[in-house]
C-alpha cells in the first residue's frame, strides 16, 4: 500500500500556494468532457459538487436522504472557526494551525492542518457571499465567540444553527448547478460498491432506495464525502441514516482505512432514558461556560437521587464534588472534550452517577443564575434550556441539568494524501469521511471548517489536477458497459439477496444494539488490551450470528428500511472489529483514544511519541484474514510535541 503523503516541498506557509501553481490545469472548454461522481451532499460533498460544476465539470451527486439539504452537517450547532483575527486578539493562521495540531494530540499531518487554517478565512467570505446569515454586531460586522476552550474569539456562528445555515448555503450553490443541469442529483440513493478499472476509481453501484433498482454510474473520478461512522456505537449524536457503508465498501476495494479507533466522545449530551432510545441529543458545549459539573461525593446520596428520594438542590455544598474544578483547576468546567468525558465516566464508575440509569452527572446553573440573574442566563442559553426541557420534561432553571458523554464525531476515516486522494487513484475523500485534519481529537467548531475547506477550496483543485494528468483523450472513456461494473453490480445483488434470504429470527436493529453495546463497553471512553481482545472475539461471533440468524422482512423492490439497516449493520460489524484492532495496536493514550494501561499516576493520557507518532492505515485482505497495518510517519517540522496539560 503506497502511503506517499505527497506533501509539497518548501516552507509550511508556501506549500499550498506552490502546490496550486504546480498542479495540472484542465482547459475550461475541455472540462465538460469529464464527469465526476460525488457521494454525499453535506458540507464537503455539497460544496465540492457545486464548485466542480461551477468550474465546468459534469457532476453526479448522490445522497441517501430525500433531499441534499438534509445531510447531517445540518445538525452542527456551535460554529465554525476561522483565523480572521477580526477581534484583534492575537489570532493568526499559524495559531489556528498550532491549536489544531495540539488539540489533535499531535497525531495529524502538519501540512494538511496548515492548509485548513490558511483557507479558513476564505470559507467565511464564501459563506457570507452565499447568504449565510452569520451573527452580526450592531455595527454590521461579523460577531465572534470563543468556543471549546480556545483562548481567542475565532468562532463564527448563526445562532445555535451554524451547521444548518452553512449547509443550506452549500445546498443553494448546489441547487443552482442542478437547475443549470451541470449537476445531476440522485436523492434516495445509497452507494453500495465502488468500481475500479485498471486500478483507478471509475464509478459506483447505487441502490435507488425508493424503487429498489440497482444502477451503475461511470465517471472519471469519484469523491466520497459520506460522513463519519459514529453509528457503529448504535447510540450516538449522528443521524439515523449515517453509516460507514460507502467508505467501508471502498476500503474493501483497496482504500486504506486510517486510525479508525480515533472517536470523539462529547461530554454534554442528554443521558440515555431507556432501552428503546434511538439516538442521543447533544447540548451545545457553550453551556459549560456557566454551568458547573458535579456529582454527590457519596455514592449513597447519588443512589437516593437516582430513585427520586433526594432533591439534588438539597445536597449541601460540602457534599458535592465539582470534579472538573477539583482535578483541573485552571481549565475547570472548560477542560477539553476527551478529558471532561473521561472524568464523568470515572465518577459514574464509582457509583456516584445520577439519572435513572446511573449514567449522568449534573450540569448546574444555580450559581450562575444567582450571580447573573435568570434573565441573563435565559438570553445566553434560552433555546438550549427549552430543548432540554422539551426532551426531558425537567426545567433546568430549577433542577440541575443532567448530562453524559456520547459519541459525536469520528476523527479516523479513509486515508488520504495531501490532495485528499485515497490509496485508490482517482478516489478522493472529503469531510468527516477522511482522516485528514483532526488527529486523535477534534476541537470544537473545526468540523464545519474542514468540510467546507475540502469541498470549496481543496477538492476543486486536486480533482482537476488528477483529471488533467489523466489527459483529455481518456475523458469519459470508461462506460458502464465495462465488465468491472457487471462484476460489482452482481456482487451487490448477491449480497442483497443474501440479506433477504437468511430467514432467521433477529432484527437488524437488535444486532445493531448488540454491536453498539460491545463497542461502547470495550472501545469507548476507556480501552484495555483484555477488553479489546474480547471484543474482537465477540464481534466475530456476532458477525457469524448475523449472517445465520438475521431476519429482514419485506423485499428489495422498494422502500425497505429493514433492508437498508441490515446492509449498514453488516458493514458496521466488520468495521467495529477493525476499530478494535486499531485500538489494540495503538499501545498509547492520545486524544479520544484512552488505553487504561497507558496513563500517568494521576490518570491522565500518556502518549508515546517515540513509537506511535504515525497514522495507522489498514489494508483489507479478505473476509476472514487479518487486515494488514501500514504506517505513515508523522513528521513535525514546525510544532514541538508537548504533553497537553489542563491542570
Amino acid at each position: 500500500m503506497n502511503l506517499d503523503s505527497k506533501i509539497p516541498e518548501g516552507p509550511l506557509s508556501e506549500k499550498w500556494s506552490s502546490h496550486k501553481f504546480n498542479m495540472k490545469l484542465v482547459n475550461p472548454s475541455n472540462r465538460r468532457k469529464y464527469s465526476v461522481i460525488v457521494v454525499g451532499s453535506g458540507l464537503a460533498g455539497g460544496s465540492a459538487a457545486a464548485s466542480l460544476a461551477e468550474q465546468g465539470y459534469n457532476v453526479s451527486c448522490f445522497c441517501y436522504q430525500d433531499s441534499p439539504r438534509r445531510a447531517h452537517s445540518i445538525a452542527a450547532q456551535g460554529g465554525i472557526n476561522a483565523s480572521k483575527n477580526y477581534q484583534n486578539d492575537g489570532d493568526s493562521v499559524y495559531r489556528l494551525f498550532y491549536d489544531t495540531v495540539k488539540g489533535g494530540d499531535y497525531r495529524a499531518r502538519e501540512a494538511n492542518v496548515y492548509r485548513l487554517s490558511e483557507v479558513s478565512s476564505d470559507i467565511i467570505d464564501q459563506c457570507a457571499a452565499n447568504g449565510v446569515p452569520f451573527a452580526r454586531e450592531y455595527g454590521g460586522l461579523l460577531a465572534n465567540r470563543s468556543f471549546g476552550g480556545a483562548q481567542v474569539s475565532r468562532t463564527f456562528y448563526a445562532r445555535g444553527q451554524t451547521g444548518q445555515q452553512l449547509l443550506l448555503g452549500a445546498y443553494s450553490a448546489l441547487s443552482k448547478q442542478i437547475g443549470l443541469g451541470k449537476v445531476k442529483m440522485f436523492n434516495r440513493h445509497e452507494m453500495l460498491d465502488l468500481v475500479k478499472v485498471d486500478g483507478h476509481a471509475k464509478g459506483i453501484i447505487v441502490r435507488n432506495m425508493a424503487t429498489g433498482e440497482l444502477t451503475r454510474h461511470a465517471s472519471d473520478a469519484v469523491v466520497l464525502a459520506t460522513g463519519g461512522y459514529g453509528n457503529v456505537f448504535f447510540l450516538s449524536t449522528n443521524a439515523q441514516g449515517c453509516n460507514v457503508t460507502a467508505a467501508y465498501r471502498a476500503h474493501k476495494r483497496g482504500a486504506g482505512m486510517a486510525n479508525p479507533c480515533y472517536t470523539q466522545i462529547h461530554p454534554t449530551c442528554i443521558p440515555v432514558h431507556g432501552d428503546k432510545q434511538s439516538k442521543l441529543t447533544l447540548m451545545s458545549e457553550s453551556l459549560r461556560n456557566d454551568g458547573r459539573i458535579w456529582t454527590p461525593k457519596d455514592a449513597e446520596v447519588a443512589a437516593k437521587i437516582r430513585k427520586g428520594e433526594t432533591d439534588p438542590n438539597s445536597v449541601a455544598e460540602d457534599d458535592r464534588d465539582y470534579f472538573l474544578e477539583r482535578k483541573y483547576p485552571s481549565f475547570g468546567n472548560l477542560a477539553p472534550r476527551d478529558i471532561s468525558s473521561r472524568a464523568a465516566k470515572e465518577a459514574c464508575d464509582e457509583g456516584r452517577g445520577v439519572a435513572s440509569t446511573g449514567l449522568g452527572v449534573f450540569l448546574d446553573f444555580r450559581d450562575a443564575i444567582k450571580r447573573d440573574g435568570q434573565n441573563t442566563i435565559k438570553e445566553r442559553y434560552g433555546n438550549l434550556f427549552d430543548m432540554y426541557q422539551c426532551i426531558t420534561g425537567d426545567n433546568p432553571y430549577e433542577t440541575p441539568m443532567m448530562i453524559f458523554p456520547a459519541v459525536h464525531y469520528t476523527m479516523g476515516g479513509l486515508w488520504v494524501d495531501y490532495n485528499l486522494e485515497s490509496t485508490i487513484p482517482g478516489m478522493f475523500v472529503g469531510g468527516e469521511a477522511n482522516f485528514s485534519d483532526h488527529g486523535a481529537n477534534r476541537l470544537g467548531a473545526s468540523a464545519l471548517m474542514q468540510g467546507l475547506s475540502d469541498g470549496y477550496f481543496v477538492l476543486p483543485y486536486t480533482v482537476g489536477n488528477y483529471l488533467g494528468k489523466q489527459g483529455v483523450a481518456d475523458a469519459g472513456k470508461v462506460t458502464t458497459e465495462h465488465p468491472a461494473f457487471a462484476e460489482a453490480e452482481a456482487n451487490v445483488k448477491a449480497r442483497t439477496d443474501k440479506l433477504l434470504s437468511i430467514g432467521g429470527t433477529e432484527s437488524p436493529r437488535s444486532f445493531h444494539k448488540r454491536l453498539g453495546h460491545i463497542i461502547w463497553e470495550q472501545c469507548g471512553m476507556a480501552r484495555s488490551k483484555e477488553g479489546l481482545e474480547g471484543a474482537i472475539k465477540d464481534l466475530q461471533a456476532l458477525r457469524k450470528e448475523f449472517w445465520t440468524n438475521l431476519r429482514v422482512v419485506g423485499d428489495a423492490d422498494g422502500i425497505n428500511p429493514e433492508l437498508e439497516r441490515a446492509g449498514r449493520v453488516a458493514d458496521f460489524i466488520e468495521f467495529g472489529e477493525l476499530m478494535c484492532r486499531d485500538a489494540l495496536m495503538r499501545e498509547e493514550s492520545c486524544g479520544g483514544h484512552f488505553r487504561v494501561e497507558h496513563q500517568t499516576e494521576d490518570g491522565e493520557a500518556l502518549r508515546d511519541d517515540e513509537n506511535f507518532a504515525f497514522a495507522g492505515v489498514w489494508e483489507y485482505k479478505g473476509d476472514d484474514i487479518e487486515p494488514q497495518l501500514h504506517k505513515e510517519s508523522l513528521i513535525y517540522e514546525n510544532v514541538e510535541l508537548a504533553t497537553r496539560s489542563y491542570k
Binding site: S47, Q126, F457
Partner: protein, 257 residues
C-alpha cells in the same frame, strides 16, 4: 421509574405510489413517556418485524428537529399537537395511557405518497433550484466584513432562513400552498445586500416554479404558521407578495431576466 402507556395507533399503510392506501390499527404497549414519537414508532416496527410483517415506512434522520425529514400528521396536525416541535422532538409525555393516535402522511397533491408515511417532496428542491440561491462562485467572494449588514437585517434573514423544508406548511394549508416555504427563502435572500442583484429574477422564478408544481395560492388562513416547527412568520408571505408585485411591475416595463 418513568411512567409507561399503552396506545392504539391508526396508521396509514400504502404499499407504493400507485396502490390504494388504508388505515391499519395497531396496539403498542409499555411506551415510556420519555420516548420520542418516532421511538414509539420504532417500537411498533420491532413488534411488526417480530410478527414477520413489514414495519411502517417513514422519513426521519437527525431526530433533533433540524434536518426536516420527518413528516407525519398526528391526530390531524402536521408534526402533532406541540407548538414549534417536529415529530421527532415530540415526546410521549404529551399523550396519555389508552389514547388512540391517528398517523398519516402529508396530504397535498404536489407531495404524492410513495409508501406509508413517506411522501415525495422534490417540488421543494425544484423551487430552490429555480432561484433560491445567491450566485457567488467559490473563490469570488470579497472579505466577509467588506459589506456590513445591520444586526436587525441579519436577525431577520436568520428568522427566515430557519426553515427546515419539512413541508408541514403545505400539509396544514387547505390550499396546499407553498407560500410560507417560498416566502421564507425569498425573504432570507432578498433582505441581504448580497442577494439584491438577483432579487427580482429570483422572486419571479421561484413563484413560477411553485405555481408550476401545483401548489395552491395563499388565502391568509394562517394554518402554515401554526404548524411550522420553526415558527416561521406569516410576514414572510407578505414579504414575498411585496417583492413579487415589485418584480412584476419592473418586469412589465423591462424584463428582469
Amino acid at each position: 421509574m418513568e411512567k409507561t402507556m399503552d396506545l392504539t395507533l391508526k396508521v396509514w399503510r400504502q404499499k407504493s405510489a400507485n396502490s390504494t392506501g388504508t388505515f391499519e390499527t395497531y396496539g403498542v404497549k409499555d411506551v415510556s413517556e420519555g420516548s420520542s414519537f418516532l421511538e414509539m414508532l420504532d417500537t411498533l416496527s420491532e413488534d411488526l418485524v417480530e410478527k414477520g410483517k413489514e414495519p411502517v415506512a417513514f422519513d426521519h434522520d437527525c431526530r433533533e428537529g433540524i434536518c426536516g425529514s420527518c413528516s407525519m400528521t398526528i391526530n390531524g396536525i402536521p408534526h402533532g399537537p406541540e407548538k414549534a416541535t417536529t415529530a421527532c422532538q415530540l415526546h410521549m409525555r404529551h399523550f396519555h395511557d389508552g389514547q388512540t393516535i391517528t398517523i398519516e402522511p402529508w396530504r397535498a397533491k404536489p407531495f404524492p405518497v410513495i409508501k406509508d408515511l413517506v411522501v415525495d417532496r422534490s417540488p421543494f428542491d425544484r423551487i430552490i433550484q429555480s432561484g433560491g440561491f445567491i450566485t457567488s462562485r467559490a473563490g469570488s467572494a470579497v472579505d466577509a466584513n467588506a459589506i456590513p449588514i445591520s444586526k436587525a437585517t441579519a436577525d431577520y434573514a436568520m428568522d427566515a432562513a430557519a426553515c427546515i423544508g419539512c413541508g408541514a406548511c403545505v400539509a396544514a394549508c387547505p390550499n396546499a400552498s407553498a407560500m410560507l416555504f417560498t416566502g421564507a427563502k425569498v425573504s432570507h435572500m432578498n433582505s441581504l445586500p448580497q442577494g439584491k442583484a438577483e432579487k427580482d429574477r429570483r422572486t419571479l422564478a421561484m413563484v413560477a416554479t411553485m405555481d408550476g408544481e401545483g401548489f395552491g395560492g395563499c388565502t391568509n388562513v394562517g394554518e402554515c404558521e401554526a404548524a411550522c416547527p420553526k415558527s416561521i412568520s406569516l410576514d414572510m408571505i407578505a414579504h414575498l407578495n411585496r417583492d413579487y408585485a415589485t418584480a412584476q411591475i419592473k418586469n412589465f416595463f423591462k424584463p428582469v431576466a
